[in-house]
Symmetry: D2
Subunit: 318 residues, 4 copies
């Protein structure tokens, strides 16, 4: 097993950068364009508080689909597992992240799971607060605590772009209204909150801290306070394991083997229980919506550092 160091992360970044050329940068996010194609930033925060980082790890980017993890955490805290999973399933799907077809066919017409677009919008309707502003403020507050970064806020320009580019998500939302998953009161608020959360600006260090928080079962490193119930953390990680990388989740379970969630900005958060959190930004994404270089980095890290939950070293012997 290799040893963690900044030099080691540097090598991984160098080895993975060329994989970016297989992907493309999405064109609807204003602070991202093809000039970011070969960027790659990798940051690891271990549970004993060390940070290792390399590449374009100071790039800021929007949270995009990684917000789905926060949405699910808050909904579980606010309403509990039973109510959340009446509104949304917990099954992985072979459909694309923005698929609408299954809402028409799937039993009960619930979204398959909370980590695809429809599921996240439905779950967002289960975050408490009297107004969208209140609800969003609660989200920011949690995220600031988890990342120990008080400056975290929404990027206005990205938010405007999200709103102007939301036809597909509007379709998903109104479809769910038509089948009773969302009430007409919830529809627009849920989508508005979802758009704001996607537009939260973050960097790879903050992502790594989010991963670390999940790995540490809902406590800050060195902290005693349980910010989120361990059972909810476990639920979120289990769903990340089966569904966090869209319809490439199965391959990531085999080749990486710990809970992950990707965003269309090319970001990925990883949580290695008991060991570390990982934050990655690599804007060139493949057809399934996952960072090309970032995915390769995860495969190398998992192999070199023996991070898979199914690896023999990651086992408590009786």
């Amino acid at each position: 097993m290799k040893k963690l160091s900044n030099e080691y992360i540097e090598e991984v970044v160098k080895a993975c950068r060329p994989f970016a050329s297989k992907g493309r940068v999405v064109d609807h996010i204003p602070d991202l364009d093809q000039s970011h194609l070969s960027n790659l930033g990798v940051t690891i925060v271990t549970l004993d508080g060390e940070t290792y980082s390399a590449g374009e790890d100071e790039d800021h980017f929007s949270l995009q689909s990684i917000s789905k993890v926060i949405i699910l955490l808050m909904a579980l805290e606010d309403f509990g597992k039973e109510i959340v999973f009446q509104k949304v399933g917990m099954e992985p799907t072979d459909d694309l992240f923005n698929s609408i077809s299954h809402l028409e066919e799937y039993e009960g017409r619930r979204p398959y799971n909370p980590l695809i677009n429809s599921g996240a919008i439905a779950t967002a309707s289960l975050i408490r607060g009297s107004t969208v502003d209140d609800r969003f403020e609660r989200v920011l507050e949690l995220l600031r605590k988890i990342t120990e970064n008080k400056k975290i806020k929404m990027n206005e320009e990205v938010y405007n772009a999200e709103c102007n580019n939301s036809a597909r998500n509007k379709a998903l939302t109104y479809f769910m209204e038509s089948t009773g998953v969302l009430s007409s009161q919830e529809t627009e608020n849920a989508l508005e909150l979802y758009n704001r959360m996607n537009s939260i600006e973050i960097n790879s260090l903050s992502l790594a801290k989010l991963g670390c928080f999940l790995s540490n079962h809902g406590r800050l490193i060195g902290g005693k306070k349980q910010l989120i119930k361990p059972d909810n953390i476990r639920t979120v990680k289990a769903i990340m394991l089966t569904s966090g990388m869209y319809n490439e989740s199965g391959a990531y379970a085999v080749n990486v083997g710990f809970p992950l969630k990707s965003g269309v900005s090319g970001s990925i958060v990883g949580a290695v229980p008991g060991r570390m959190g990982i934050g990655i930004i690599g804007p060139a994404i493949n057809k399934k919506g996952n960072s090309c270089a970032g995915g390769e980095a995860l495969r190398i890290l998992s192999s070199d550092l023996e991070l898979s939950l199914l690896h023999d070293r990651n086992v408590v012997n009786l």
Copy 2:
């Protein structure tokens, strides 16, 4: 955390038996009928060699879909990961276990994964041997070693029933021939081998030993010899985690949290890495094909014994 004992398993069986009434016993397997509805047998073999068991743990039953685990193990050993996953995907699916639609639509028309019917038939074409007899003999030999049970063999009556009831699987097989997943030479042999493997007779102790073998990374308990490469064992367990319980796999990842595979006979094999193997027989199955009482037993065992891979205790601290 509760302590393992025969009495404890007895209690679990007693608590779970009533759940059988929510399901039904399949009617096409000759040695099973509705009189087995409330049967439940649970056997655990730990990695230090202890056995705990209760209920109808002496019932014999056919392997059914649990054979898919053996098929995948052997194909990986015989041809390697790359060739296997050219023929079959590794993604979980929301479709039923015997679905054919996705073969028409899914990219490349490969079956989604090796743990649904189409995928297992395709994978069965990758077990080496000059004849179906040879290939089946190799399977039995491996299974006899793993279970330390030299008597394991095919149940002829079940096999005949499988053959007479194979229209759906024939459809899957010929469809794959029509799209090039299988060559016309492979078609009938693959299905024949698949039918024989489904008809292998087993009991909950042997299943628990199979689980134990997977938990022990491909070695017998107390044995030094690596019967299957650890990387192949890991691959199989990762796919069991995301896809082992048909389209209930996501819920099992959340509520149970370790690799599982179920069969339509109401059997389930579980592998808790580093700790134990679990064998269950509970013939009453739900609409998704999983044992009603057996599933409940797994949820209780996972909670009581803290077996989830995502539970904080199952974590190596640095």
Copy 3:
């Protein structure tokens, strides 16, 4: 062959009324409720100007999906066949009238045809006019000419209900925006025009005159003026023949055999080329969205009066 008379129509109505009990009245249209269940009105206007009528033929009801015929006629006149069928297909579908799935899968992602909801909304974007008011006024003007009824107008109450109950159609519309079938400029206007057109109030006499106008190749009875080009009339009737009765269109082609279009209010317009127009209102609809009693009336009329285009009498001998 039976002879047309008011008494004959009376008999047909009497014979068909009991079929209403197999259906139900939709509950989202304010001027319709279950008290209308067994209503049935049938009006026939022949090309030589005679009118035959019986039952609740004075009931007023909203045009609902029959508006799709008018939308298509106007779009063909305004932009021509080529442009219209770039935006929407002309193929029958086995999907439900409000299906969204196929927009995700179907080649080019055009709606299948202009007589399902998505297709009609897309086609509505091809009616000329500087504002929605202008465009709707042009529609009313045409409809008033065709029906020789200057009072035809929108029912405000129905319109409000349409708008409040439009989540599914919003989903279809935004989905088409997301795939480029509609531009973001067109989206809301197209849906607004569609909602207004569905809310136009009509009766069975006016429907029969619409059918008569189609049967008379785009001219009023006794009129010389070609209000709509014959080729456009033919196109509309051909699509009515293959797709006018949702996913029961094939059965109607076999059992009735001339162009039809139904609406969820239980209304049906029929056009028997060269012979007559038929207007029907029978609010109890079946699961496929077609009037139960009205459908039976059409089968009887077609048989008694030998109306099928494929009947040997409806043939010009050389």
Copy 4:
């Protein structure tokens, strides 16, 4: 309106031949290859017994999917409308001719209609006869009468190729067995009869006579004897109108407007009620399975000769 003559058909053939270059000849039929790409034969037989013909009208080719028309005619005669349409639907579909997905989803799991592969195989199980030989002999006998060609027989070479290339149809057949559309007794006979019928050798003159027979309501020209009941002829023609050209049927209803059925050999039979039968062979087919040059010929013929059922001339004035 143009006048029918051999010279006129010659011109049509000349004008349409270039359209063949947009298609390709299927490669699994032994008596067809790319050298036939630009072949085009068109034969018309009118109800007053005249024949007009041009191009490669002496080419022999296998009936392929046009056999579905004969299968349906015989099943309707043998078992009647009610029983036939319990086994198979009568709705057009947007799916490909060899689609299997809808058998999994569609209500009742019947094939959509008798003119797609699954539907024709199911319908073939409803042709009476104690053996496949008997049943096939009855088919040949009918076809020989209709075409007044006693030499019509199966092409052995084509039949062998059909059998060797039948994986997809086997899949459809066994799938229908698995869902109860076919009993296990019927499965293999139905497919065997279907393969033989597809392999019947024919030419454009015989096809035109088949069309003529349908146009003449089930009687030979000049004959008094009703070989097939008029109601069954009408049913077959109605289904040809909505579903005869696979998922291009809607476009043909609009642009050609009379009952048609195509085969993958590039053949098309057309029936213009009361006027004529049309036989076409043009082996280059498009992606939807229809002859490129043949389709163009039909569009020109329909326009020039005013053949659409919806054309104002094809109307009986009261």
